[in-house]
């Protein structure tokens, strides 16, 4: 039941060759195209106002922290005699305490990225447009609120949870976390158990913050196994 306006591969190719040839871009997979951070506004305006393929709706903005990408907690390739604890003692994502959080994460080439999930209603077509943030310490991207109004809250969410600053956003406040919250919870170096917990203080007669009293633990370590069919489930 595909819409007859849905672009075929040739039309898509023409679109990218014609209108986007002046930008530097690459396809990460069939539906994801990566552009340079500097061209964000120009590229997105073109996607919104293009004749051949107009993306009316910004469905979602997915911000990602790549600092733990491809790092497993359990070496599945070579067995050793260290036993089960090798999988559960290491400090890794989801298990950081506040003290260990900063020093341990590895540095990928570019740590943060934002994926803009665009939908064209007239052509019944989806496209993911991805931008990597050039700066790792102070990641920032231009705001697309002037192109799609719905970007407002998506950008606030991405700022809140991953700390990507959207320059040009009219009102970049935290959205989901508590008033006065410190840190960006979806960053991989943010501990799963958090840094603070709340408690009702009988003397002060109000809710107070205190450092977390629980210990981080992982029941099932993260394992990376190739999808090699030869490797049996017992591997």
């Amino acid at each position: 039941m595909n819409n007859k306006n849905t672009p075929n591969n040739n039309q898509l190719k023409t679109l990218f060759d014609k209108d986007f040839s002046k930008f530097c871009f690459s396809f990460e997979d069939k539906n994801t195209v990566v552009f340079e951070e500097e061209n964000l506004i120009e590229v997105m305006t073109l996607f919104h106002e293009n004749d051949l393929l107009q993306f009316e709706i910004l469905i979602d903005i997915i911000a990602v922290d790549y600092s733990d990408f491809g790092i497993s907690e359990w070496n599945a390739k070579n067995a050793n005699n260290k036993g089960y604890s090798r999988g559960i003692t290491k400090d890794s994502s989801g298990r950081y305490t506040y003290e260990t959080s900063k020093k341990n994460h590895n540095q990928p080439k570019k740590r943060f990225a934002a994926i803009y999930n665009l939908l064209s209603v007239t052509s019944n077509f989806r496209l993911n447009v991805k931008f990597y943030c050039n700066e790792d310490d102070t990641p920032s991207l231009s705001s697309v609120t002037s192109i799609w109004s719905s970007a407002d809250w998506y950008e606030r969410e991405a700022y809140d949870l991953l700390g990507i600053v959207f320059t040009g956003h009219p009102d970049l406040r935290r959205l989901l976390t508590d008033y006065g919250f410190i840190g960006h919870p979806l960053r991989k170096d943010f501990p799963l158990i958090g840094n603070v917990e709340v408690n009702y203080d009988l003397d002060k007669e109000r809710v107070v913050y205190q450092p977390v009293t629980i210990k981080p633990r992982v029941l099932i370590p993260k394992v990376i196994r190739g999808n090699d069919k030869e490797e049996g489930p017992s591997g």
Binding site: E56, I57, I59, S72, W153, L192, V218, I220, R225, G226
Partner: protein
């Protein structure tokens, strides 16, 4: 003339018509709203962060708790994303069961929306009517999964169990006499499918009942007609999907446009509105309930005539049967591996969306090849809808805020995640 000063008012987070924990900061000029600033996050549980620390199958239950009035639809998007990235096909019967329960879920959701929306703007009785029918549908949930709400029924590879051949029955008690119990159990004598079929025969009359209470009701119309108008262009800009977008006159429905499961084979229509006001969105959702009823009927017919597997027998993804585990060494290993470590998903990004009762519910799954999602992002339909609240209530009276929150069908489980 007296001078009217603008002032700021706090609405919620415990206001009964805030649909949960919405805190609104309203700037008012007299009774007219100048600006509304929703403060959300009071129900933030960090679902996305939690999912990153668990194997894929252990997060299905979290999905139920996102939009807690349309549980199975949330699960659906999540398991679809897993199936897409693994590249597995599910049995035909599972597809029909999923479609049937998606539509049952849609009716469940719309009934709650209708009851709450009507209650908010002054019609008490609709709530009671709507909950009467919801009770029957919850029983369907219970029959297949054992729970009335948080089902965890959809699994990667199919659904957890085949439809049961017996319905749970009412029992005689201090409060229910034998005569009453016999009457209540009349439709529960057969299989689950018989029970649902009986429901689908009754339900169109129920919708007529609700409509006779509301559609031509003068008060209802005064509270909803021309309230919260959103044009087609603005609806696109604001990222609307589902009934909110269709109410503004855009025939966009993923079940038709990007069909998943067996929606291609099923005959149904998409209702759309013309003015994009609260009344149109009301009419759209009422018609959607009738269409869902029609879809359920078609699924029942198919399911009655076709039997077969309901979950894929790829034991790397789905557990082997209890008997196999006891007899067969390999099955035992599969079972152990699945429940201790889970399965690994090839590196890559997938996006899967379903036509959730509230709009487009999408799941973006980024995998680095491990047994846990590297990043899981839920696209909740209510999120952009609530973001548009400021624009929709601007210039309206304070009492219309309640009507607009109602028409948006806000549920905080999915917005705050």
């Amino acid at each position: 003339m007296a001078e009217i000063k603008s002032f700021t008012m706090n609405f919620g987070p415990q206001h009964p018509s805030a649909h949960g924990v919405l805190r609104l900061i309203l700037e008012l000029e007299g009774e007219v709203i100048v600006r509304a600033d929703p403060h959300i996050g009071l129900l933030h549980r960090g679902t996305e962060k939690l999912a990153e620390s668990k194997p894929y199958n252990q997060s299905i239950g979290y999905m139920d708790r996102l939009d807690y009035v349309s549980m199975m639809s949330n699960e659906h998007a999540y398991v679809l994303a897993i199936e897409k990235s693994l590249g597995i096909e599910i049995p035909e019967r599972a597809k029909y069961i999923r479609v049937m329960f998606d539509e049952i879920t849609r009716i469940l959701n719309h009934l709650l929306w209708l009851g709450a929306h009507a209650l908010d703007i002054g019609a008490m009785s609709v709530f009671l009517y709507a909950f009467r029918e919801r009770e029957d549908l919850m029983d369907c949930y219970e029959a297949v999964s054992g729970t009335r709400m948080h089902a965890t029924y959809y699994r990667p590879g199919g659904v957890a169990k085949d439809l049961p051949l017996h319905m749970p029955k009412y029992e005689e008690s201090k409060w229910k006499s034998k005569k009453e119990v016999t009457k209540l159990n009349e439709s529960r004598e057969g299989t689950l499918l018989d029970f649902i079929e009986d429901f689908t025969n009754r339900f169109p009359n129920c919708v007529d009942e609700y409509e006779s209470l509301l559609t031509d009701n003068r008060i209802w119309k005064q509270r909803t007609v021309d309230i919260g108008i959103v044009t087609k262009e603005r609806a696109f800009q604001l990222g609307f999907t589902g009934p909110m977008l269709r109410g503004s006159g855009v025939a966009w429905d993923l079940r038709k446009k990007q069909p998943y499961e067996v929606y291609k084979e099923i005959d149904f229509d998409i209702p759309i509105g013309t003015n994009g006001d609260c009344y149109d969105r009301y009419l759209v959702r009422m018609e959607e309930m009738r269409q869902s009823n029609k879809i359920i009927k078609q699924c029942i017919k198919w399911l009655n005539n076709n039997s077969g597997e309901v979950i894929s027998n790829n034991n790397k993804i789905t557990p082997p049967s209890r008997d196999e585990v006891k007899e067969d060494m390999e099955s035992l290993i599969y079972h152990f591996k699945l429940f201790t470590e889970g399965y690994c998903i090839p590196e890559g990004e997938v996006y899967c969306a379903v036509e959730h009762p509230k709009g487009e519910f999408g799941v973006t799954l980024i995998s680095d090849g491990s047994n846990k999602p590297y990043r899981l992002k839920m696209r909740a339909p209510g999120f952009p809808h609530l973001a548009a609240l400021n624009e929709m209530v601007k210039g309206h009276m304070i009492s219309d805020v309640v009507a607009i929150i109602g028409t948006q069908d806000i549920v905080f489980g999915e917005i705050d995640r």
